[in-house]
Subunit: 411 residues, 2 copies
C-alpha cells in the first residue's frame, strides 16, 4: 500500500490551478454568447443615440418658450411638422414652435426639450397650449448619452448577461470574441462499473459519476466529452488517458476508492510522458484521495470513485478551474450563492481537514435562513439529492455548535 | 389616442398567467436533462446498494468478534478469502473470521461490520489482529440504504441538478420524462427598427430587444425563435403574429413605445380570431404599456418598445410564465437570488405603481451588502448593464430613504 505522497491543503490546491493557461478566444454570434466571457474589451464605434431622442410622447420645444407656463396662463405655440419615427427631421424648430413627437422620435434641430402630451392642449389646428414649463434636456436622451463613440462598452473578462447582449446589439455588434469553452474529457474507471443502461450483474454498480460530472461541467459553461468505462488495468488506463488528453483541454477521471485502485490510477498518470503530478491527496473530507497532474499545460484531475466525494471535489476545485480557463478570476470553491444561516445541529469536525457538510437550507417566515445538516453515510448519493447547500468547515475548526451563525453555499 | 382600457396591478397580472396550461412532457436522454423539470415522479425499481457494501478499506467481520478489542489485547481473527470488486462473495463468513475488503466491496454473508485497515495488524499469513471494536453496521452501507425498490427517488416538478442526474444514473435511469421546453416566438416591430448587422440610416435604431429577449428566454430554459422585424402596419403585424403563433407556445412582440404604435399593436392582437385581451396596461414603472392576450391557450405578450422596459417586464412576468409552463410553481417575479442590503440613497416612488429600480449591489468587507441606485434616464440600456440587481418598490410605498434595509434581487 502506497501512502499519499503529497497531501496539501485546499488553499494550496486551488493555487496550483492558476498555472493552467486560459484558453484561446473565438468569435461567435451574439445570440450564442449568453454566459460566455469576453476575451477583449468592446469599444463603441458610434454614439448611442446618434442624435437626441424623445423619451415620451409630446411636443418638442425650445425650453425657454415654456418658461412660466401654467394651467391658467399656458404658453401658446405654433404646431410644426410632426416628427416621424425612423427619420431625422429635416427642418429646424423656430422659436415659438412645437413639433409633435412620439416616444423615441428624434428632435428637430433647435429643439432642446420635450413637453409630455399630458401637459398640452390642442388649441386649434395650428396651435397648442403648453401648461407646464420644461427645463433644458427634459424628456430628452442626448446624443451619445447611452454610449459614446470610442468609449468602452464592456470590459474583457465580463460574463455576458441578457441585458449585455441587448446593449451589444444596440451598439451594432452581431458577433463577439469570447474565450473558448473548455472541452472536458470524462472517464470512469473500475472493474465493477457498468454503463447506466446496462443491467448490472451481482456486485456491479452503474456509472453515476460520468453523468453527474458531465452535468456539472456543462453548468460551468464547459463541454463534456464522455468516454467509455475503463477497467482496473494500468495499460488500459494509460491508453484511455492518452486518448482523452488528445481530445480535450482537461481530463477528469474518477474511480478507485480502494487503495489498490488509487495506486493504479497514480501509476497510470505517472507513466504518461511529460506529466508532472502536482498533488496526490488534499486535506479535505470527503475527497482526500484526489490527484492533480499537469500534462503539457493540460490538467488531469484524478477524482475519487465514490460519487459523493467525486462530485464535491469537482464542485470545489474543478469548477473554479473551468471558469479560470474561460477567463474568469480564479476563486476558491465551492462557487455559488452564499447565504447566512443559523446551524440547527452541532457538527464534529477534524482539525487539519477542511470539511464539506451537506445541508438543507430552509427559509423561515421572517426571511432568515436555517441550515440543517443532512445525516446519512458519506457514500450515499441520496444525501446529495436531499441537500440544497454545502457548509465549509475550515481546517482549523474543531466543530460547530447548534445555533452558530454560518455561511452556506447554495447548490 | 386610446387610453389603456384594462390597467391592473402586478399581482393581478401574475395571477392571470396561471390560466396558461403546462406543456406536455417528453422523454429525453439523462445527459440532456440538466435544469429540466420532471413531469413524473421517479420510483426506484431496485435497491441501492443491491447488497451491503463497505465504505472503507479494511476487514469485513462479525461485530461481536471484535468486542473488547484494543491495542493491548487485540482480537485475533482468521483471514478469509479477500473480497473482489465487482462480485458478490460466494461464501459465508464464519465466526472468528475476517475478510479483506476494499472500499465499495460487497460484504460476504455473515459479516455485519467492517474494521478500517488502520485498526488492524497482519499477524501472519493466516491471521489478522483487530485493535478496535466495531458495532453492528459500522462502515457498511446497507442494502437499500441509499434508495429502496418501490420508493420515490425524485418527485415530479423537481428541477434536475447535477447530483440528481448522478442519482438517477446510479438507479438505472438513462432517460427521464420532463416538461417540454416552451418555444417562444420573438418579434420586434417598428418602422425605425433595423437588424443588428445593418448600418442604420439616420433616424433608425438597431433591434436590441430581440437579442436580449432571446438570451433571457434561453436562460429561463425555453427556446427562442427569432422572427424578422415587422413594420408599423396593422395587416403585417397581424400576419406576423399568426405565423409566430403557429410555430410557438408563447409569442412575445415588442415595439411601439409611442401611443400610436401601442394602439396599432392592440388592434393587430384584437383582430386575431379566438383571442382575448386579458390586460392592457400594468400599474408598474417602467413597463406600463404591456399587453397580455390569450389565443386558444397560448399567451401573447405585447412588450414595450423601449429595451429597458421590455426587458424588465420580461424578467418580472415572462420568465415566471416560462417556468410555470415547464412545470415549476408560478411565483411573482423578478426571480433570482434575493439579498438583504442597505440602500445608499433615497428614492422617490409613486403611490399606485410598483416600481423597479436598477441597483448596483456591493458586498462590504464585513459581508453585508449595499444597494446603490443606478442613475440615468430610464431609456438607457447602459443603466441595465451597470446594474447587477433590481429593487422592487411596492405600489403602496411612496419612496425609500437612504439607510433603509431593502431586499434586492440579483441579476
Amino acid at each position: 500500500m502506497t501512502e499519499f505522497f503529497h497531501v496539501i491543503t485546499a488553499d494550496q490546491f486551488t493555487e496550483l490551478l492558476i498555472r493552467f493557461p486560459r484558453l484561446s478566444s473565438e468569435k461567435i454570434p451574439l445570440d450564442a454568447s449568453l454566459a460566455r466571457i469576453l476575451s477583449d474589451d468592446i469599444v463603441a464605434f458610434e454614439d448611442l443615440p446618434e442624435q437626441a431622442r424623445s423619451t415620451v410622447d409630446g411636443y418638442a420645444v425650445r425650453a425657454e418658450d415654456t418658461f412660466g407656463a401654467s394651467d391658467s396662463i399656458p404658453a401658446l405655440l405654433e404646431i410644426a411638422e410632426p416628427v416621424q419615427m425612423g427619420t431625422i427631421p429635416g427642418y429646424a424648430l423656430n422659436s415659438g414652435q412645437a413639433a409633435p413627437i412620439p416616444t423615441g422620435g428624434f428632435l428637430p434641430r433647435g429643439a432642446d426639450a420635450v413637453v409630455m402630451v399630458e401637459y398640452t392642449n390642442r388649441a386649434d389646428e395650428k396651435n397648442v397650449e403648453i401648461t407646464r414649463p420644461v427645463t433644458l434636456r427634459t424628456n430628452v436622451l442626448d446624443k451619445g448619452e447611452d454610449s459614446k463613440s470610442g468609449e468602452p462598452l464592456l470590459p474583457s473578462g465580463m460574463q455576458l448577461r441578457f441585458q449585455d447582449i441587448g446593449f451589444l446589439a444596440a451598439a451594432g455588434f452581431s458577433e463577439v470574441s469570447v474565450y473558448r469553452k473548455p472541452k472536458v474529457a470524462i472517464l470512469s474507471s473500475g472493474d465493477e462499473v457498468v454503463p447506466v443502461d446496462c443491467r448490472p450483474r451481482p456486485g456491479q454498480i452503474r456509472d453515476a459519476n460520468s453523468h453527474a460530472l458531465a452535468a456539472l461541467v456543462r453548468e460551468a459553461g464547459a463541454e463534456p466529452i464522455l468516454f467509455e468505462i475503463v477497467p482496473d488495468n494500468a495499460a488500459m488506463l494509460r491508453q484511455a488517458l492518452e486518448t482523452a488528453l488528445s481530445q480535450s483541454d482537461i481530463t477528469a477521471i474518477s474511480g478507485g476508492s480502494s487503495v489498490g485502485a488509487r495506486d493504479l490510477m497514480k501509476s497510470a498518470v505517472s507513466s504518461l510522458n511529460d506529466t508532472e503530478i502536482l498533488a496526490h491527496g488534499i486535506a479535505i473530507r470527503p475527497g482526500k484521495p484526489t490527484l492533480l497532474a499537469d500534462r503539457k499545460g493540460k490538467a488531469i484531475f484524478g477524482l475519487p470513485g465514490h460519487p459523493v466525494s467525486a462530485l464535491i471535489v469537482a464542485q470545489v476545485f474543478l469548477v473554479p478551474l473551468l471558469r479560470h480557463l474561460q477567463g474568469a478570476a480564479l476563486g476558491k470553491g465551492p462557487r455559488g450563492l452564499r447565504i447566512d444561516a443559523t446551524l440547527t445541529a452541532s457538527i464534529h469536525s477534524t482539525i487539519g481537514l477542511e470539511e464539506y457538510v451537506r445541508v438543507v437550507i430552509e427559509e423561515k417566515p421572517d426571511g432568515t435562513y436555517e441550515a440543517h445538516p443532512v445525516y446519512g453515510k458519506s457514500g450515499m448519493l441520496s444525501t446529495m439529492v436531499k441537500a440544497n447547500g454545502i457548509l465549509v468547515i475550515p481546517m482549523n475548526v474543531e466543530g460547530l455548535s447548534k445555533g452558530d451563525s454560518v455561511q452556506v453555499v447554495q447548490w
